[in-house]
């Protein structure tokens, strides 16, 4: 399955996307530390993400991947260091990003109403919402479920709905936190295909995963995180063929690293 999916993912050109998703980039993290209650969980993260690649933040569970994504989105504040999106603060940049959480947060409403609510929160006028909701449901293949209560959908459908909802205002950047971690292979595949389509339409993708196979399928560049430190940041082919970091090499081989 991994191979057939990999074939469906188009190789992405840097230049063609730089124009559409360039306005929020580069994302720059400068000496970022996060230590809630004095306990350091992310340390000295230096990172610059400039072009329109699909970036996968890879690492074992507990590496700090999810926190890194939350810091970039401005949901939590770094204890030390600075994060900026094309020179803007995370707060100012957040409304041009979409965020997808590992556990889908769905309102206790119908599928279509979940998307309409996000549009309303972003200030889209009522009469403009319907067409956007329809287009968004179609993109995610959820049109036939529009009138169903959102929380009665299957896990995969729920996650596709949260992705469609996060993208409904055409964000420059889509952040995904282990979007298919608890899904069966078919549902995970549908989620991955949706992510690829969204990327092809010009949205910058930054995604976390602990699943090496998924990273191989989706990543164009890899950020390897372990014990709260950024150990490697390389193009995907380099990372998987010749990782520079020994822990990354062992992780790719499927060894348990500590």
């Amino acid at each position: 399955m991994a191979d057939s999916l990999a074939r469906t993912i188009p190789a992405s050109g840097v230049a063609e996307r730089a124009s559409t998703a360039g306005s929020l980039l580069p994302l720059v993290l400068d000496q970022v530390c996060y230590s809630p209650h004095g306990k350091p969980v992310l340390q000295d993260i230096n990172l610059e993400l400039a072009h329109g690649l699909r970036t996968v933040i890879l690492g074992p569970n507990g590496a700090g991947k999810s926190l890194l994504l939350r810091l970039c989105h401005g949901l939590i504040e770094p204890t030390k260091g600075r994060i900026s999106w094309a020179g803007q603060s995370t707060a100012a940049a957040a409304n041009r990003q979409g965020m997808v959480f590992q556990r889908p947060v769905l309102l206790r409403r119908k599928v279509a109403e979940n998307i309409a609510h996000a549009l309303a929160a972003k200030g889209v006028r009522r009469r403009d919402r319907e067409a956007l909701v329809r287009a968004s449901l179609e993109q995610a293949g959820l049109t036939h479920l529009a009138e169903r209560p959102a929380r009665t959908l299957s896990g995969g459908e729920q996650q596709r709905l949260t992705i469609a909802r996060a993208c409904v205002c055409d964000p420059d950047v889509l952040l995904l936190d282990e979007p298919s971690a608890s899904l069966d292979p078919a549902a995970a595949r549908a989620v991955e295909e949706l992510v690829v389509r969204i990327h092809a339409a010009g949205t910058r993708i930054i995604m976390t995963t602990h699943d090496i196979a998924q990273a191989r399928r989706l990543a164009e560049e890899v950020i390897f995180l372990h014990h709260g430190r950024l150990l490697e940041h390389s193009p995907a082919d380099e990372f998987f063929s010749a990782p520079r970091d020994p822990a990354a090499a062992r992780f790719i081989r499927g060894e348990l690293i500590d």
């Binding site: 939350r70 989105h73 949901l75 957040a94 409304n95 965020m99 959480f101 947060v105 309102l107 206790r108 409403r109 609510h117 996000a118 309303a120 929160a121 972003k122 209560p149 929380r151 009665t152 996060a166």
Partner: protein, 234 residues
Amino acid sequence: MADFQTALLTAIELVIRLDPDLIEIVWLSLKISLLAVTFAALIGLPLGAAIALWRFPGRRVLIILLNAAMGLPPVVVGLVVYLLLSRAGPLGPLGLLFTPTAMVIAQCILVTPIIAALTRQTVTDLHEEYDEYLRSIGCGALRSITTLLWDGRFRLLTAVLAGFGRAIAEVGAVLIVGGNIQHVTRVMTTTIALETSKGNLALALGLGLVLITLAVAVNATATAVSDTARRHHG
């Protein structure tokens, strides 16, 4: 035992042939309690949501007081409202003592903490789940509150029903501030108290049957509401 049987049969007969005295009393009871619960919901829902969402000094103490106020003794509430509304009291000039309005006020005071405390709990739970998402889409304070209240609608409806159950079955407060005046302020509970002491068991039992039926109906509705919620929204 024979007395009880006769009284019970007469009571059932009163209910079945919709005895005008009985209907008048039931109708007044429903009117007062529904009004009281409406006002209590208008105050308690936003108040509970506000306490759930805003951090301010003394918040923990307020939550403890609010939870404690769910069990306010009705006679004490009756006494306080009585003192406020009596001629010598600060609100005496309004002339509200021994009117249905006074009874609505007393029941509203009893029910508001119930609705506010249950609302606070509901909104706190939902907020924990929704917080990061709502911040992620840039939801403002007002829209966040309305989102949480709407998404908690089933549990909040159950809270309002619990408030209604408390209001309709309560006797101490309405007895003190209403005065149990025939055709003016006699509700089911105060009538049952009075008629029992007079030995008119038939009317008392008839009203008792109506009260129990109402209690069952309220609980059945609450159960149906939460079943629907679980089925549709997990």
